[in-house]
């Protein structure tokens, strides 16, 4: 037990938690925007892959890191546009289209990677974002190292979450977006375009998912691997439900999840960890996500028109 305590009070552990949570925050907020407007975006897993790949590729080809983030966001928005076109005006099944987008984005990344690097066995590295300690704040014991000695992309993740929360609940645009996910006919009656709002939400949300993916290559691992997203996108879909479609709660969910993930990695190295097969620890995050869904199932306030296509003039 003392090992567990030692882990939980170490600054390095909490720094890892915030680092692991960052890509999840980007992608979860992106998914949340889509779902608040009434569109389930199962393209998330593939869009994270394309973001990880294009962001890495841009930097590998000599672009600055922030340009890489921009390229990733653009690529994500492009796939978001495809998803939005098929699911919003055409009203096609959001499940099928989303999975199709994931398959397409994933295979496009693999295809393009092999075109650029036909015979490379060890993936080339790039120079990633460096930690950017915030003056004074980073000197606070434990908290300073955990929160204020991260890379710029991590600060951006939290900034985006706060901004999205503010827009959603404090501005007319946010009200319109939330209403589109609840009662699209009422939005249309106000003279606003449901199609426009939904497409915008999916495109922007997909852009954020891709930045989440780019975090993996540009801030965490500094090279691109085929399996690197590894279900993180699906976990973010669960985190949106866990967060009851609220940005603040979703960020807390991401941190909780990241804490669990960081803990299982560290527990593997303790004497208790040596007793169990390591696969049990790796399974834990996925079980946690399922458990979170079960716990929230009774309480969640699902947007009323989530997954309901809107066809103007139809009753």
């Amino acid at each position: 037990m003392s090992e567990l305590f030692d882990i939980l009070v170490s600054a390095g552990f909490w720094a890892a938690v915030i680092r692991i949570a960052s890509p999840l925050i980007f992608a979860t907020i992106g998914e949340l925007i889509c779902e608040r407007a009434g569109v389930l975006n199962l393209g998330i897993e593939g869009i994270m892959v394309i973001g990880a790949f294009t962001g890495w590729l841009a930097v590998y080809q000599g672009m600055p890191l922030w340009a890489g983030v921009g390229v990733a966001m653009g690529a994500g928005m492009l796939f978001g546009l495809l998803h939005a076109t098929l699911t919003v005006p055409f009203g096609l099944s959001q499940h099928v289209v989303g999975l199709g987008i994931t398959l397409l984005a994933t295979s496009t990344s693999s295809f393009a990677y092999r075109l650029v690097l036909p015979e490379v066995t060890s993936p080339p590295k790039i120079e990633p974002f460096q930690p950017l300690p915030i003056p004074f704040l980073s000197d606070i014991p434990v908290l300073g190292e955990a929160l204020f000695s991260q890379t710029a992309l991590t600060y951006l993740a939290f900034g985006v979450a706060i901004l999205v929360a503010w827009v959603l609940f404090r501005t007319p645009l946010g009200l319109a977006l939330r209403a589109t996910g609840e009662n699209p006919s009422a939005v249309e009656a106000q003279g606003l375009s449901v199609t426009g709002i939904r497409m915008g939400a999916v495109i922007l949300g997909s852009g954020l998912m891709a930045v989440g993916g780019a975090f993996l290559t540009l801030s965490a691992f500094s090279s691109f691997y085929f399996e690197m997203v590894n279900g993180r996108g699906w976990i973010c879909v669960a985190l949106v439900v866990f967060g009851a479609w609220r940005p603040g709660k979703a960020v807390l969910g991401a941190i909780l999840f990241a804490a669990f993930d960081a803990l299982q990695i560290r527990l593997q190295q303790t004497p208790i960890g040596a007793l169990l097969p390591y696969q049990i620890f790796l399974m834990a995050p996925y079980f946690m996500s399922i458990l979170a869904l079960i716990l929230m199932s009774r309480r969640a306030e699902v947007p009323a028109s989530l997954m309901v296509p809107y066809n103007k003039g139809e009753r």
Binding site: L92, G100, F111, V237, P277, K312
Partner: protein, 347 residues
């Protein structure tokens, strides 16, 4: 824009749009080949030749189609009832595990094959039963739970291969001990590399077709999928129908794993399935969820995979072109099927 249903879509419309989807896929394939710096006609020719140009190629395609027919059927059954089973990969591995657990000497012949097949189906059904009960009892969305189970199952297989099921003669390579001869599916024709899993897949497709078209359960599945509220109002036991669909779907997906182990590989390894569970979604959608259509769609998908592998060895185009083409054909096809039945109107 607005969509307006067409009362009686013409035959030209119903065939034209899916044909255009296929055409669009071929055009994209040519463009991708050009991006890769190759001659598109040569590449398309190599894919077709690699998939069906020789007896060896054709048999390879049939073998590859076998698990795809099973997973395609599994998805078709589930999606018809709007049960989003994205966990066919996990159910497939469940079936494969059972094939190894019972097929390495635990049961004596001559019943070992039917016993392992039925046990595999039961365990596969159980793997999907959990998410479905969570859906019907607690309203937990099955998409995410079935997806996450895929990752859990792969880790479980990895544990089994390094622990209880490890082949002591595997030289550190993570694979299971081999099945005994009685637990292996025989070849359909002596000397031809095609096992009975393919025959069973065809039989399964016919059975599923009969269930879909000729039984009360099939009717109820369609009704629940078309409009759950209306089905409930009409007095149908919606939850029971969903659970029955899940059991059938999980069982079919498990047979894919069972037949890969018993028919093709003879042992379990972590690369048993290159995503057959996910490709099954493409197969089922291309078949428009029709069980007999699944056979044709599975042959098409298998042909693209086998043909692209062979093309990739001959020309410098990455084999991932196959996955791109199939994902695109899925998106083109769902759009084509919609446009066959709806007219796009301004305003």
């Amino acid at each position: 824009m607005r969509l307006e249903p067409i009362a009686n879509p013409s035959l030209a419309r119903r065939i034209g749009f899916p044909a255009a989807a296929l055409g669009a896929t071929i055009v994209t394939a040519s463009l991708l080949a050009m991006i890769a710096g190759a001659d598109p006609f040569k590449i398309l020719g190599l894919i077709v030749k690699g998939a069906a140009g020789s007896k060896f190629a054709a048999l390879e395609t049939l073998n590859r189609a076998t698990p795809l027919i099973f997973t395609g059927l599994a998805i078709a059954v589930a999606f018809r009832a709007k049960l989003w089973n994205i966990g066919a990969e996990a159910q497939l591995y469940a079936g494969a595990i059972v094939a190894v657990l019972l097929g390495t000497g635990a049961i004596g012949s001559p019943f070992v094959l039917p016993v392992t097949a039925i046990a595999a189906m039961l365990v596969g059904a159980l793997v999907l039963l959990g998410p479905v009960l969570l859906k019907t009892r607690l309203g937990v969305d099955e998409v995410v739970t079935t997806l996450l189970l895929n990752f859990i199952m792969l880790l479980f297989v990895s544990y089994l291969l390094e622990g209880p099921l490890k082949d002591p003669m595997g030289m550190g390579w993570p694979k299971s001990t081999a099945l005994v001869k009685e637990a292996r599916l025989p070849r359909i024709v002596d000397g031809l590399r095609l096992h009975w899993g393919f025959g069973l897949a065809l039989i399964a497709a016919c059975i599923v077709w009969v269930i879909q078209k000729r039984t009360t359960l099939g009717f109820e599945m369609r009704a629940v999928g078309a409009n759950q509220g209306a089905a409930r109002f009409a007095g149908m036991p919606v939850n029971t129908v969903l659970i029955q669909s899940a059991l059938l779907s999980g069982g079919l997906a498990a047979l894919a794993g069972w037949s890969e182990v018993a028919g093709l590989k003879g042992h379990l390894s972590l690369d048993l399935s290159p995503g057959f569970g996910y490709s099954g979604i493409i197969v089922a959608m291309l078949a428009m969820l029709n069980a007999l259509g699944v056979i044709i769609a599975a042959l098409f998908v298998a042909g693209i995979f086998v043909g692209s592998d062979s093309m990739s060895r001959a020309a410098d185009v990455p084999t991932y072109i196959a996955d791109m083409l199939l994902a695109l054909s899925l998106l083109f096809m769902v759009l084509a099927v919609l446009l066959a039945r709806f007219r796009v109107v301004r305003g």
